[in-house]
Subunit: 337 residues, 2 copies
DNA sequence: ATGAAAGCGCTAACAA
DNA sequence: TTGTTAGCGCTTTCAT
């Protein structure tokens, strides 16, 4: 068993200096085309594999962008990561993914772990972090982007939208349609902070219209999905049977609520209206289709990727913190009038 | 602006040798408790961040496990990665994720890219790879695990199940219930190879029962999801209006098909039966609930993680290629009798 | 339990 | 365009 081939071995085989091999492996370095071909051939013959760890150490560039999301199993966040990844790939950057299970303590641990890999940028979901996490991030000298939110006190850059404002738009629409008894189905207070912001927006909007804000059902800890939607609907129907419209923290919750109605023979939207959040596939294909808010998950990822690419290239004049505000869009469908 | 603190700086501040700092940062190294406390204090004060790249280079251990899945936005694969990640975390291993968009050419590129990061193990989805990919993997000297399939010629280790066999079980059940006109809704031949295996299992099963195998609707390239399910159902109803039961390549497809029926006033299961694959949440909460095959995505991830942990620890006697076969389970629900 | 010396494989910086 | 030298920050190895 021979040890793994290094650049030195490739250099010897190709009859050049190791530095030339190094250059041949960078697409933008100035190397004679013939020389490069010779090097590549030698590399192929030796089964040479470029060693990123050594490269990182010497060049002080990891090629990583750390991205932290609450959950892998969420089509919205997956869309954001997918779109960002696509943009960053063009810059030769790779995503180092971490997920927090909706816990900011877990986020703190994750940040610490990811920082050891020397990411060239850090992408966070949401604007709420532990104090220590903020301290760690403040010390980091790379661009930091908070997404999916508009934090009051951003760490640095932001690509997001106001969850509460988006929710307000939905409530206004329902009030417009004449509903006065409107409920909210969501999760417990502590964990899902975007869900919490939606709840706050919901309450504020009802208050502005002078409507009752007591129809709030908390279905448990995040992630609040279909099961929780069904359970919450059950509770709601028991506690407030005269409810006219239901606003849910996400489309998955809304779907759970919808099917619970269907199981009970309650017609949507004739007997009760239901709306979700996030424009998941399911809201477009459920029967009836579900009114929702399109938050443009992929757009968030794309813009975040572009922002990072721009900041790392650094060809623009020195810039301060950037903020890209996304405008969510109400999508009215069959589950509301 | 001071340059970033290194171990040397921490060592100086704590009045010890760099080597002692290094040991203090390994949980299992023999360091006096007081010394360690002193080191940690100095590190904290200096804002020291451990540099993984340097550690990797010298120790020849990256702490990475490369994992390649077809798509991020898929609850089944997300479950596998989540469960695997949880097991590997305990071993101090971090997942380096890549996704192929259901293309084995993309998989090849990804493998090449990930190999440069010196993963300590490689996890693949499926058993079909480009020739060059196989060559690259053959040269790698780390454990390789193929998942979600039982390849005829595995590269090395396997944690998976037979997609065709699982499908056969479902078809047998439907035939048992008296159906003879059974259709399959899936994707095009080329991309989704697990979907393809399911189709093959479907056809074989029908043939064994001496039934017609012509009701096959291909709805387009992967990922085949709700939209494709609805479209495929539309085509099916036009081409074979007397179909009695529909088997779908996944639960998402089945849901799309189900809702298409609902839009047309076709009752499920009274007028037509529908079954899916994968035990996604949606199949448990749709109304009616959807018959499906539970493939134990999380179990695949857990077992893969455990296998890797065992192989890397290497405390067992030298082992050959491992194969863990998962047994998918038919889950009969309301969408079939 | 702690330290000293050497070097992992690559590339920045400079030279030719 | 190509080569030479030095060293990135850590850990292996051996010594105490």
């Amino acid at each position: 068993m021979t040890r793994k081939a290094t650049m030195k071995d490739v250099a010897r085989a190709a009859g050049v200096a190791p530095m030339t091999v190094s250059r041949a492996f960078k697409s933008n370095a100035s190397v004679n085309a013939e020389t490069r071909a010779k090097v590549m051939e030698a590399a192929e013959a030796l089964g040479y594999v470029f060693d990123s760890a050594a490269s990182n150490l010497r060049s002080r560039k990891s090629g990583f962008v750390a991205a932290i999301i609450p959950s892998l199993n969420n089509a919205n966040f997956a869309d954001t990561i997918g779109a960002m990844s696509k943009v960053l790939e063009r810059e030769g950057l790779q995503i180092l993914l971490g997920y927090t299970s909706y816990s900011i303590e877990e986020e703190e641990r994750l940040i610490e772990k990811l920082l050891r890999r020397s990411p060239e940028a850090i992408v966070l979901t949401g604007g709420h972090h532990t104090e220590r996490a903020r301290k760690l991030l403040d010390k980091a000298t790379v661009p930091i982007v908070e997404t999916w939110d508009l934090p009051e006190h951003p760490i640095e850059h932001v690509v997001g939208f106001s969850n509460s404002k988006a929710m307000k738009g939905l409530v206004d629409h329902l009030v417009d349609k004449g509903f006065t008894k409107i409920a909210f189905l969501g999760g417990d207070a502590s964990a899902d902070l975007r869900g919490q912001a939606r709840l706050i927006g919901f309450i504020e909007a009802l208050e502005q219209h002078g409507l009752d804000t007591s129809r709030l059902i908390a279905a448990g800890p995040a992630p609040v999905a279909m099961r929780e939607g069904a359970l919450a609907m059950e509770h709601l129907l028991k506690a407030y049977p005269d409810t006219e419209a239901v606003v849910c923290v996400s489309d998955l919750t809304a779907f759970g609520a919808l099917t619970e109605c269907q199981r009970r023979g309650i017609r949507v939207p004739e007997d009760i209206s239901i709306a979700g959040f996030g424009a998941y596939d399911i809201s477009a294909f459920a029967h009836p289709t579900i009114t929702t808010i399109e938050a443009f998950s992929a757009e968030i990822g794309r813009k975040t990727g572009q922002m990072i690419a721009r900041l790392l290239r650094g060809d623009d004049p020195p810039e301060g913190p950037q903020c890209e505000e996304i405008s969510p869009q109400l999508v009215v469908r069959q589950s509301t009038p």
